[in-house]
């Protein structure tokens, strides 16, 4: 009989090893899936993980995409990870992302066609505030009326999507757009664009912000009293109260930070890679970032790596669709598998397997 036995202390080695093993296991399970679909599993895995970076034909296009896709994921996931560490479950980053983009774009377009250096920074601030205010709705409802932040933040995503649609169709619609939905193309307005900073790398201001967020979160969690209080609250709320943590303030801080970072991610996306407010602007980054946060074990550096990995599966998945004709749903299944295996492997951090002699009854 095989039994799980609790470790006296969480294993450091397994904490690092589980994400790697989860990725390998996902490759194997995914390979089986692709094989069952009649595709060559090795070709599929190679197309997803290898070709986007090293294939002579595509890499020049797809390599910069890695940072473009990873930046919003990392930025959002860093914000989410603070709350998740403290046991505050913000599932609505997608809504905060959309509201950041909307607020930033609206502020920028209000000054159109002024051309001034301060417009883009102002839009960045507006984007952060947009996401922040949207996150404050579940935060204040939770601290005031003890509502469940999971439900409230999730529901607000759908409201944000409706606001996005109305913006694209009416109040932010391009007056010179011949009646097509969607705003002016911000990336083509110099005062409002978020350009590629280093040619051929995909680096834009959002990438810079993502790296800055990783460093700031690392310092906060490991060196700052507030980071300690966040971890303590997640570990044991009663001990946190005894340590003098103001739990309501912590809820506001964690949701607020996630809101700001998600809003910024949205703003950098709408002024750069996406270019405009459109009905389908929300591409699911806010939800995928939840996977990124957990895949990175809620650790800033882990999130950085997980964001890059997930971005790779996005790009590789598109490539596999195009090259091998894999349906996009199977790529989503593949990403889901990644989270499931990771959570499944998680048990080894706190438990170890022991073979126990079967007891005679």
């Amino acid at each position: 009989m095989i039994k799980f036995v609790k470790r006296p202390e969480p294993s450091k080695a397994w904490t690092i090893a589980t994400p790697i093993l989860a990725v390998i296991l996902t490759m194997i399970l995914g390979g089986v899936l692709f094989a069952l679909m009649g595709k060559d599993p090795f070709a599929a895995i190679r197309t997803i993980f290898w070709d986007p970076l090293f294939n002579d034909q595509f890499a020049a296009y797809s390599r910069p995409q890695l940072l473009v896709k990873a930046a919003p994921l990392i930025l959002i996931a860093i914000g989410l990870s603070l709350g998740f560490k403290a046991g505050i479950w913000n599932i609505g980053a997608e809504g905060q992302y959309i509201m950041g983009a909307l607020a930033g774009a609206a502020v920028g377009l209000a000054f159109y066609p002024t051309d001034a250096w301060w417009i883009f920074p102002l839009m960045v601030i507006a984007g952060g505030i947009g996401g922040f205010l949207w996150a404050m709705i579940p935060a204040i409802l939770k601290t005031r009326f003890n509502t469940n932040e999971i439900l409230v933040s999730l529901m607000l995503v759908y409201i944000a999507e409706q606001l996005l649609a109305s913006a694209a169709l009416s109040w932010l619609r391009n007056p010179e757009g011949n009646g097509f939905p969607g705003s002016r193309n911000l990336s083509q307005i110099p005062a409002m664009s978020n350009p590629e900073l280093i040619a051929g790398t995909g680096t834009h201001w959002g990438v810079v912000a993502a790296f800055a967020a990783v460093v700031a979160a690392y310092v906060l969690i490991n060196k700052h009293m507030l980071g300690f209080q966040i971890r303590l609250t997640g570990e044991s709320p009663r001990a946190a109260r005894f340590a003098g943590v103001k739990d309501k303030l912590l809820v506001l801080f964690c949701l607020g930070t996630a809101g700001v970072l998600s809003g910024l991610a949205g703003l950098f996306e709408v002024t750069g890679p996406a270019g405009q407010i459109s009905i389908d602007f929300g591409a699911g980054y806010g939800f995928t970032a939840i996977i990124v946060a957990f895949l990175g074990r809620l650790h800033p550096v882990g999130i950085l790596l997980a964001g890059l990995l997930l971005a790779l599966t996005f790009i590789g998945g598109e490539l596999a669709q195009f090259m091998l004709g894999l349906p996009s749903a199977s790529i989503q299944v593949f990403q889901g598998m990644l989270l499931m295996t990771l959570l499944g492997m998680d048990i080894f951090v706190n438990y170890r397997l022991m073979v126990v002699k079967k007891e005679a009854l």
Binding site: P8, E9, M225, L226, E235, S236, A239, F242, A243, G244
Partner: protein, 504 residues
Amino acid sequence: MTELLKLSGLTRQYPGVRANDDVSFSIGAGQVHALLGENGAGKSTLVKMIYGLEKPDAGSMQLRGTPYAPNNPQAARASGVAMVFQHFSLFEALNVAENVALGMENPPKMHALAQSIREVSDAYGLPLDPDRIVGDLSAGERQRVEIIRCLLQDPKLLIMDEPTSVLTPQEVEILFKTLRKLQSEGTSILYISHKLEEIRALCDGATILRLGKVVGECDPKVTTARDMAEMMVGQILHVPSREGGETGDVLLDVQGLDFAPANPFGTRLKNVSLSLRAGEVLGIGGVAGNGQDELLSVLSGEAKTSKGAISYCGQDISGLGPNARRKIGLLAAPEERLGHAAAPNMSLTENAVLTGNIRKKLSKNNFVNWKKTEAFARDIIAKFDVRTPGPDSAARSLSGGNLQKFVIGREVLQDPTVLVVNQPTWGVDASAAAAIRQSLLDLAAKGAGVIVISQDLDELMEISDHFAALNEGKLTAPRVAKGLTVDEIGMMMGGAHDLEEVAP
């Protein structure tokens, strides 16, 4: 006297520790046999083997002359072995009869069961209404539910693990009457305790365990408590000593405090008043669940109280949170070590900053100085003899007693003006408990005020200047501890909780 249970050479190995090593003794029919030993001596492992929860690696047991090797508690109960655990396994939202039924193999119909509960409780002097909700019962009454659950199965051997730790002295007397009645009917009792005077009053045989081995047998009726204690710890005991110092100004003053806890099964504090002077040790006794946790939480600042209820050195501190109170010198150590006083998965260093940040200045501009924090953790480990591989160990990896030493040491070394502790030596071995008590006395000798909330009356009598008792959220007026009799203490603790002895 015929032999009921005979243990020969029982051995149980856990990873890294031999919990029981070649343990042999026997219990006679109708005997009350004491199992003595410090925490970690192997008492729990031994009774778990008798009750079928663990299996011995070597050795054998015989029950009434036939081999006895229960695979599980059901098998043990079928053979006539029953056990009352120290921690109750009862559902607060269910009534007494339902709780009893849940612990039975083939429970009878509810009304029949209620009837037999009444009969057994009458016969053994343990009044209990089968229809009451367990959440409303006192700890003593809850224990009666467990005992009656066992008695309904007509056991030949009843194992009781620290049964009196939740009882008032009067309730203890009545429990003993019940146990003696059982004994006179031929039931054997294996009685686990570290309260030696109780064992002397009740038991007619004792086996002493130390580090998993039997180190002695004695007849408690003729052996002194001190001799038994020294057999338990294997060394001469140092009794904490104190100079009867003068007490100074009032440090902490609580007047007419009312407090309703958020937890529906918590205890409401009613009109609690106390005052604590410099150099004074105030002992607060009482059965668990009578408002101890709530009292600690209002003093530590975790729970907010009405304005003006608590003042410290003349200043109203009712509105101050835990850290503001730490800053001015009011520290606390709660009872629950894992999850309240310490975070289980965090290292000792991290747990040191948990309460030590303010007074030990472990952070600057809110950035934690981990080097300084680790030095503080090392200091606690060294001065309070915490047995651990080092300050990086997770709190949950420490044994209960060692973590307790860490928790108390963390507060004592912060040099408090007033220290409030709840159950400071719970689960700590005798010599370490003496060291903890001594450190509390030393604090008081240096002019601090100390409030010790405890269920261990011996401990309170040993170190307190004044004694008060909590009973259903009410605090009695403090009395000078010296010279208080057990009867007086018992009455302060609420007597026998409306318990009446049955006429013989």
